[in-house]
């Protein structure tokens, strides 16, 4: 789960990491008040979770409370990179002598956390790594002994600081590591970490991504998840409620399959045949008829969808359960859109039998089925042409 900048900053501050003064505002008037209280030139920053916010115009400068109000007015309610701005962070503007980078993330190949630092902050660290690899310092963290204060000092030294500044940077790095461990992060990042003109440092922008699987250790985020739900599409909300992996995509072919890899491969195959998937939906392993029918209903409820592809290879999943789930949906809501079913594997015979008895045709080849559904979607998915009525 990604946290908003202002949420992340609260946590950074809790660990004693210096951040600019500032407050969140959800209306232009509030933004004006915050700016007046701060009584210095400010930045007004859209609180959205997409990367590249700055370049997309999501960060505005304001020298007076009035300007802050206008800036907030510009940002609030506007969509940036397709995301509505729900609030802005109004924050003191700090003059940067240098912009640095520091982050803790996961190195999947080495199976450990890694601390990444650079004297070149302010842009994405991958970009620095591509353009100036010599400017990126990486310290792989021993999972047993952790990131120690002396590692932090080594890193601070390697990005060019000495004396008191080295100690102060190291102390900040170590606090970020502490935070990262305590909060089970996938990413904890200060970018830019600003060196101010008075030689001190401040985390001007921060990012935190929490490992969703560790929520049971961080109950405080449960409400956060509930809040987030209000921003989901009806399909996403329903899938989340039922514990289904669902990702909204841009196309018009609804997909239900079992197994993340198989569903991804299904999407890819659809695209190879010239189609556009509307979603990723993994019904999961060993799905019951009920889970199958819930999944299918989610996909059917998406108004963009004009054809549906059910792709199931039964392993732990039983084809008869899948078939029953499909029939249940037909009974409950009917099929307003054409559906292509590919069904093989465990209890394949029973499953086919159930469906063919009910007048539904079943295919065996994933590729054949994919081709078919693309054809249907292209034809506008008119019910008359549908593979299944």
């Amino acid at each position: 789960m990604k946290l908003f900048e202002y949420e992340a900053k609260k946590i950074f501050a809790k660990y004693g990491i210096p951040i600019p003064k500032g407050e969140i505002a959800t209306t232009p008037a509030e933004a004006r008040e915050v700016a007046a209280k701060l009584n210095v030139p400010v930045m007004v920053k859209a609180q959205i979770l997409v990367a590249g916010r700055g370049k997309a115009g999501g960060i505005l400068f304001a020298d007076t409370p009035k300007e802050a109000e206008l800036a907030a007015e510009k940002l609030l309610g506007v969509e940036i990179k397709g995301v509505r701005v729900p609030s802005v962070l109004v924050e003191e503007r700090i003059t940067a002598k240098n912009e640095l980078y520091f982050g803790i993330t996961v190195d999947r190949a080495l199976r450990c956390y890694v601390a990444v630092a650079s004297s070149e902050g302010g842009m994405e660290i991958e970009e620095v790594a591509t353009r100036m690899p010599e400017k990126v310092v990486k310290v792989f963290i021993n999972p047993i002994y952790g990131f120690q204060p002396y590692h932090a000092r080594q890193v601070a030294g390697r990005i060019g600081y000495a004396g008191k500044q080295m100690l102060s940077l190291a102390s900040t790095f170590f606090k970020v590591y502490k935070l990262a461990t305590d909060y089970d992060v996938e990413l904890a990042e200060m970018n830019p970490l600003i060196e101010k003109t008075n030689q001190e440092f401040a985390a001007a922008d921060t990012r935190l991504i929490i490992d969703d699987n560790a929520f049971y250790r961080h109950r405080e985020f449960e409400n956060r998840v509930t809040e987030e739900e209000t921003k989901l599409t009806p399909q996403e909300r329903e899938a989340q409620k039922r514990g289904l992996a669902y990702v909204k995509l841009d196309g018009n072919i609804g997909i239900v399959g079992n197994g993340a890899g198989l569903v991804m491969a299904t999407l890819d195959t659809i695209q190879l045949y010239g189609g556009n998937p509307a979603n990723f939906l993994d019904v999961g392993g060993g799905a019951s008829a009920e889970k199958m029918s819930a999944s299918l209903k989610i996909v059917l409820s998406d108004t963009r969808v004009n054809a549906v592809f059910i792709n199931v290879l039964g392993g732990i999943t039983r084809c008869d359960e899948i078939a029953k789930g499909v029939l249940e949906v037909r009974k409950q809501v009917g099929f307003a859109k054409p559906i292509v079913i590919r069904l093989v594997g465990t209890n394949e015979e029973e499953g086919r039998h159930i469906l063919t008895e009910a007048g539904i045709h079943v295919l065996s080849s994933m590729e054949e089925a994919a081709e078919k559904v693309v054809e249907m979607a292209k034809a506008g998915g008119s019910n008359g042409y549908g593979y299944i009525r």
Binding site: A51, V106, R108, A109, R111, C112, Y113, E124, E126, N142, P143, I144, T181, D184, E186, D211, D212, N213, A214, Y216, R217, A245, V247, L249, G257, N258, G259, A260, G261, L262, V263, M264, A265, L267, D268, T269, I270, Q271, L272, P277, F280, D282, G285, L313, G314, G315, I316, T317, V344, G345, T346, S365, M366, E367
Partner: protein
Amino acid sequence: MDMGIFVDKQTRAIVQAITGEQGSFHTRLMLDYGTKIVAGVTPGKGGTKVHDVPVYDTVKEAAEKHNANASIIFVPAPFAAEAAFEAMEANLKTIVMITEHIPIKDAIRVMAKAKQLGTIVIGPNTPGIIVPGECKLGIMPAHVFERGIVGIASRSGTLTYEIAAGITVADLGQSTCIGLGGDPIIGLSFVETLKQFGKNDQTKAVALIGEIGGNLEELAAAFIATEGYEKPVVAYVAGRTAPPGKRMGHAGAIVMGRTGTARSKIEAFSKAGVQVAEMPSEVAKILSQRLMKEKYI
């Protein structure tokens, strides 16, 4: 001659959380397949039996009394890492972690200890491993596999059965099919598996089934290119259409910024001379062609 890698007919496994729904169900299926499930563990249920398999409170007791050397873990995520530690301490040298949703922090600690002890960890979030006709330590449907000559390593579940079934139908069969796991932190990499398949006489070709996220595929490609890997390798990479920043079902299947795209992986394989299938069904076709050319079939 070893039929496959990591497990065989001699493997003596325990099931951790054997009394749970999943554990009990798959214990039966594994026993049916002929796997030597010698004991089970569920704390507090010691002294009972599941499908005639004796249950113990601790892995130590189970392992010692039944001379076990492997474990398959169905323990719920919050306790799964601890279960793996218990298995490692009891000196079990192959551990299959079926459990999904294990926190990254926990998985990292498990893998660090495994490295120290030389324990093979398969998963987490894996369907397990099967050496057809010898040993199934996992939850995969047995009927799609057939003893044969293709080594499969995959980050996926159902997609693997899809491709394995194709390979079975093409009469190639599998020497071993191993699910590396769908999580960001997993115990085995493609490279490590390739090395094992390289040493395994039964394996005449290798299929790698990758997906978006991380760089295990890129590392495998680099390994194949620099080491001059001798056996034919065919790859499939799922997730060409996946948008960045979204988890596609698996915790590990996510494009982060510019890293972990299907494109990067496919390009890396192609550059290394590894043929990449466009569709799952092509994997078996390409393997057949390659193996015919190399006169294995």
